[in-house]
Symmetry: D2
Subunit: 307 residues, 4 copies
């Protein structure tokens, strides 16, 4: 009565998070270990070890970042903006609960003050407890001020010109979620106001694959407020996608020549170098064409959303 | 930019346990809340709230019992055996970590002593903490003795004739797991020895649907040791199956006439009454025929297993 | 560079139909072979070989019957009604596209005429081509008349008293589907009218597990029209459930004593015998209690539906 | 009895192909329409319309290319090799069943003869029938010779120096499949022999994400035969990955300066332009480091495989 290996289910994953890209497409993450599962006031949180990507944070069923590739996301999000400003001293991070955005900001020796504003204080406590691989002590850096409050209101009430760089590390503008109001023209006007004259802002900008229309709308919306906007992207394995980012500047064109990038890129990076920096801003033909054909912008009155 | 409900994924489950019935069939349980996930010395444990069945215990990825229907499983497992003995005073439960088998045993007022033997003490501690709906304090009953040790060795070393009823509430005999040796002829010989002259044993006996061959082998194996063996089944929703049980007796035929069942069934049951009792033992034609065609038995030297 | 069997995906199923029991529970059927996939005027049809249940018919993503267990469903649906009538000569089958309901009806030698009414002629053609295991030539029996038309209208326009037995082999009353109007009081009034004075009707009645409220409503609704209604159930593995049926009679109580069942059951059955017949009508305590607590009925104006 | 939209399953996909990236990670493709499902002598074929990527070809459960993004894969595979040769006249395509590799080759006006060698003639017939969007008549081009035979034997028996460019459009080297022998040193020696003195070869080289070790081994193995080898990658959405390619040349360095690329890139491309060309060859830091740390090569005697 020997084993038929064709029937064995022993090595098949059985604990999963299914990311629904649509009701008809999904990515199934097998889980090895669940560190935390629960609900904060704002969202459902799972912190787990996945088989494919190591530790990972899921909010409302969608992966936010993973041990295996968070360095790509966070280096791509932070450094182009930090370089675009000649000497960033005062930085605001809106969102960015994992603390890894802060970690990358703090690599820049010009930084004197980094204010992180996240609405979900319970999440931050969980991150401090379970996600040391991400923040690596950044919350304890003396330059850091952590504020638990609404990011939009914080920027609206900030002294004009308070920040050199503002990093928007937000959840997606999913229909019916508070994130929607963090991608509108009115929001970007508040960002603009809060920036110094040569200030720079950057936002994650959803997927260039399955939310390409949204990527384009974010570009259009920022471009209705800022004189310079540069779309870029980086391939993030856990997001299954070349992920979108949008870089906006009040002063000079934020896309820098290679020499300046080489000179100013902080050391210790794992993903980004000057060659790859250039390619972040090199969009494939079909993405450029899709950007050109989309004309809509997102406003508080008529916000754009994804599902 | 309004919502297309066809694209909404908001109400779709995303935290799952997939029970692999084979590498080509599965039951997906959406999870609402995870109370505990971790590994004891013996097995991987998930205690979670499922959307469909309420709270549930999963061992190594397979559901053991659920809040919604554990009463069916435990009433069906325990009472036919308890009734089959004229006056059960000394009862052993092998396995049965949830404490619900004990709970049903203790409904019988003749019981003076109930020894529960489970190898996994860590699991018992988790059950005490998270599964009060199952045990309802049974572990604290003064008649109960809880022993954390190997069930087979316990029976092999027990004084002959020590128990009136032995309830075998075990995990399946899955290839490569310790459960395999709890379904062999040699094991049932130890059970037989440990029983009093009119003693009764009952075991869960896997699925009459997807492991019908195993159900038949368990019947054959018990029948090679006991003079009376009665196969029966009950539909357990969370198991997707009419689940198999096997009732064996050293003395009289364990299938009782209706009047005795009616007279002796304890009160407070939710599933079982005298009419349903009769139907547990009424197998559909095709199951009877499958039982007749299987001739193998399971032995320590050549144990039968499932995957 | 040898194989790590822990990483092999070779024997894992990859072609699936997922039956969504709810957005948070599913049954995944691995497919071995797809015989037909396409859309008729009325529904989406897949006829495929599943690994677990052999050939199977899926309509709009839900299994209708499978090679492995269709005999259970069709024997349970047909014979209790056929026996309940003393001498069924004229039979109507509403729905029943696979032709297996017809096959079971035709086992009864008293039958002189069997009218099958199905709205989906394209489906019938597919069944004739791909599902010979089901119909086994029943469509060619000289007693059979096949009509492609709306079943409700057929009954409404039938001569009163035209049929001795009416078998309602329908898709579920899922919100927004035409099936809904085949479970209302007005529909059962048409059934009643079309039956002879000792006429008998039977309907499939959804799952006693996940649609128990609907099962009860169907009982209530039929009981608002017929003097005798008997709920029953049979475990159908591919439906993961003890499946509900409802037997209604204009004349005598349709639940027969064992002797009559034994005498009149046709030969050649694989599931049903007189003992099992009795148990079909034996509902577990908790199902009986659920039936008692539900008071609603379904009407054309306010129809009951499932999802 | 109105609809609870939270319970609706109506818009959820139910017909799927699950691509197992490992036993613990998967990509689920919802299918809208199945054009063909069946087995050729060599492989299991599904040609279907997916909801997310349009029409797609799956071999043995893995997507080969999709309507939505095949242009990325095929442009990335073909044009760097075609450009690397100063004037490609004679081209061999090994594999490439969809005919789209041929389509891209034929864009180059210098091509006088294109031999496509695929072992699976039944697959080619299916492609001709169902995948016109891919081949667009390429099989009928007078320059094309289609040969149904073993690609490795074809190259081993070819006249030395027969081809200017050889495009290896193969299935992955999965353990136990014939593809394994198309990635070994001995195979690349046959490729080398069959090329003219300034000949160029290119191969798909598995995923730079989940098979990065294999990508590196292919690089090492080619570099043990060819003087110049350039790894590159392109993000292919349906493959969830920056996909790997390997470009090898007998003559000059195959990575060209921008001006030559601009001058010689054929018109009508949707993905590739001179800027993107440059970025194909720009690997992120962590991929470069992984390439450097892997030293193994694949040989017939000890072939490297994935699962």
């Amino acid at each position: 009565m020997s084993l038929n290996p064709e029937m064995s289910t022993r090595h098949m994953g059985y604990m999963w998070i299914t990311e629904w890209i649509s009701p008809k497409e999904a990515h199934m993450h097998g889980l090895e270990k669940i560190y935390f599962e629960g609900r904060t006031k704002y969202q459902h949180v799972v912190i787990a070890k996945t088989f494919a990507f190591g530790d990972a944070l899921f909010l409302d069923g969608y992966v936010q970042s993973t041990e295996a590739d968070e360095f790509i996301y966070h280096e791509a999000l932070v450094h182009p903006a930090m370089l675009a400003h000649p000497s960033p001293r005062r930085v605001a991070v809106i969102g960015g609960g994992e603390g890894a955005t802060l970690r990358e900001v703090l690599r820049h020796p010009t930084v004197e003050r980094a204010v992180m504003v996240d609405i979900d204080g319970e999440l931050i406590e969980l991150v401090k407890k379970y996600m040391e691989k991400w923040h690596r002590g950044s919350f304890d850096d003396p330059r850091v001020e952590l504020r638990i409050e609404d990011g939009r209101r914080f920027l609206e009430e900030a002294e004009p010109g308070s920040f050199d760089v503002i990093v928007l590390d937000l959840t997606d503008p999913a229909e019916g979620t508070p994130g929607v109001k963090l991608y509108t023209k009115e929001f970007y006007q508040a960002v603009y106001r809060a920036l110094s004259p040569d200030g720079v802002a950057v936002t994650q900008a959803t997927s260039t694959r399955y939310n390409l229309f949204m990527y384009a709308i974010i570009r259009n919306t920022m471009a209705s407020v800022f004189p310079h906007v540069r779309p870029y992207k980086a391939f993030i394995p856990a997001f299954l996608s070349e992920w979108g980012f949008m870089l906006a500047s009040k002063g000079r064109d934020p896309l820098l020549p290679r020499e300046e990038v080489e000179r100013r890129l902080p050391s210790g990076l794992r993903f980004l170098d000057a060659e790859t920096y250039k390619c972040l801003f090199t969009l494939p033909k079909h993405v450029k064409e899709a950007l050109e054909s989309e004309k809509r912008i997102s406003t508080d009155a008529n916000p754009a959303t994804i599902y």
